[in-house]
């Protein structure tokens, strides 16, 4: 079977600062200037107070694994060669959740509420994914 290219994020104009930052090894999230709500994924309006007065802040990059799974069979075509890989929902210390991969560890060692910190994995020259490794 021909190798299937990894899906790259289908980005939006207002999310570009996020991907610009990951390319430089930084994890940024949004913060509402009016109500202080931390926001991920990047939005057009604050989901808490409807304000459009939103700014970018650098996140601590630390969090915990809310839940995870080790994909061992029947992955999407572009990920067949990656198995086993860990998909996880990470809760950042800032209170926001994001989907990511847990890397640089034995998949069997990952567990719920495990402390993790951000790392960066480039897919191509343009896009770098924020992934997480054990703290």
């Amino acid at each position: 079977m021909a190798k299937v290219e990894k899906p790259i994020p289908e980005t939006n104009t207002w999310t570009e600062p996020f991907w610009d930052a990951t390319r430089e090894g930084k994890l940024v999230i949004q913060k509402c200037v009016d109500c202080d709500q931390k926001i991920f994924y990047p939005r057009l309006i604050c989901p808490s107070c409807f304000s459009q007065n939103i700014e970018w802040i650098e996140a601590s990059g630390k969090g915990t694994v809310y839940t995870y799974t080790v994909v061992v069979n029947n992955a999407p075509s572009a990920f067949l060669d990656d198995m086993p890989y860990v998909v996880a929902v990470v809760r950042l210390d800032e209170g926001v959740q994001m989907l990511s991969n847990i890397v640089e560890c034995d998949p069997a060692s990952v567990h719920c509420d495990m402390p993790v910190k951000v790392a960066f994995k480039s897919i191509n020259d343009e896009y770098t994914l924020p992934v997480f490794k054990p703290l």
Binding site: K6, P7, I8, P9, E10, T11, N12, T15, Y41, Y66, T67, Y68, T69, V70, V71, V72, N73, N74, A75, P76, S77, A78, F79, D82, Y85, V87, A88, V89, Q97, M98, L99, S100, N101, C112, I123, Y127, L129
Partner: protein
């Protein structure tokens, strides 16, 4: 304002689910529709509105449903006033019923045919199905690049649910076994051979802790139901199935944004539905709980109030949800055994709720079923719906 008792299902239709390479998708649609329409003992020309729900195996076929193919196939050109698609993935059953009930209640339609047809087993390759469901409803910017797909989606909820409730893999497997017990009695089900907990536990691991026999199988299928006002319903049947209550919440688009992957919003949805119906979970005779994976069936069952959180696994393990048990749950076998026909998995389960209340469920009929609760959810479980149906309208 409430739709309680303001609409009724008077006809149902369904074709067998499974692998039917020779059966064109439109055949599933037309045969289901004919059954549902004929059952109301009235002329097909009375159908003035058709609500097809979405089909995902083929965009062209879906467009045909949106733009009136079923009107023409049923010979209703110039008769049907509105052909309008209502689609919310697996919860389309609930949203179609709600929209249909609203339309008949305000007099905008007299008889509404709601229908679904899908060809996910033979209209797609297995890998094609996996690839389709790694993007359908999964956010392309925030989840697809990390290898998220439907098995990992279900596994993420299962892992955390196990962690918080202490539910075991064997108890999750018991949900699959319970559904199979019902499917053994369902001629329209894809899988009817007896299934054991050991077989589930020995099946291939997909995404930990989710195994292949804890996963639904994509199927071809079709089902339909006809909705009208209670006054018109009385002209056709002595057992109309009344809409008594409905509650729902949409809680996320991106799966990882769900605040609680072990609960979703079924508790709030159930509270609204039971309040509207003026019933309690103890009044319900049959619980058609949306599955697709065992964890969601446990969550739907527990959060709707049929048992305490974390106690569902035990009830399923003890066989209390099997035919003849105290809690008849998901009596068509659910998507785990009847087969997953996309949005139709939910439609089939709603049709089953109506079938049980009409007393037409054959070998798997729950005796004297008067009230049914039905749950559904769409996409990556983006919404939580609870619907209460009954043969009478309580005060």
């Amino acid at each position: 304002m409430s739709l309680k008792g303001k609409a009724a299902i008077i006809g149902i239709g369904e074709v067998p689910s499974g692998k039917f390479p020779e059966r064109a998708c439109i055949v599933s649609a037309v045969e289901s529709a004919v059954m549902a329409v004929k059952e109301k003992k009235k002329k097909r020309e009375d159908i003035d509105t058709i609500i097809p729900t979405g089909t995902v195996y083929n965009a062209q076929y879906n467009n045909e449903m949106v733009t009136g193919r079923i009107v023409e196939e049923l010979g209703l050109s110039g008769v049907v006033k509105n052909n309008v698609s209502v689609f919310s993935g697996g919860s389309s059953s609930s949203t179609m019923l709600k929209v249909a009930a609203g339309l008949v209640n305000i007099g905008a339609a007299k008889y509404i045919l709601c229908l679904h047809s899908e060809k996910l087993a033979t209209g797609l390759s297995l890998q094609g199905g996996i690839d389709l469901f790694s993007t359908a409803g999964i956010a392309k910017e925030w989840e697809v690049p990390f290898g998220q797909h439907y098995s990992s989606v279900a596994a993420l909820a299962t892992q955390r649910y196990k962690y918080e409730t202490g539910t075991t893999d064997e108890q999750l497997a018991a949900v699959c076994v319970s559904n199979r017990k019902w499917a053994e009695l369902n001629p329209n089900a894809m899988f009817r051979k007896p299934l054991s907990i050991d077989e589930v536990m020995e099946s291939k691991m997909l995404s930990t802790p989710l195994r292949s026999k804890m996963s639904n199988m994509l199927a071809d299928g079709g089902s339909a139901f006809v909705v009208t006002s209670p006054e018109r319903a009385a002209e056709h049947t002595d057992k109309p199935v009344y809409l008594l209550g409905s509650g729902s919440r949409a809680t996320h688009f991106v799966y990882s944004q769900e605040p609680d992957l072990t609960r979703f919003a079924f508790a709030d949805a159930a509270k609204d539905a039971f309040k509207e119906a003026n019933l309690t979970p103890q009044d319900i005779d049959v619980m058609e709980i949306y599955d697709s994976y065992p964890v969601y069936q446990l969550i739907g069952f527990e959060e709707s109030g049929f048992c305490k959180r974390g106690e569902g696994g035990q009830l399923f393990s003890e066989g209390k949800t099997w035919p003849g048990g105290k809690y008849p749950v998901t009596t068509n076998g659910g998507m785990l055994s009847q087969g997953h026909t996309g949005g139709g998995g939910g439609v089939a389960l709603l049709v089953e709720a109506a079938r049980q209340l009409m007393g037409k469920a054959g070998e798997r009929q729950v005796k004297d079923a008067s009230f049914a609760a039905y749950t559904s959810t769409g996409g990556t479980y983006f919404d939580s719906h609870v619907t209460i149906l009954g043969t009478v309208v309580p005060d």
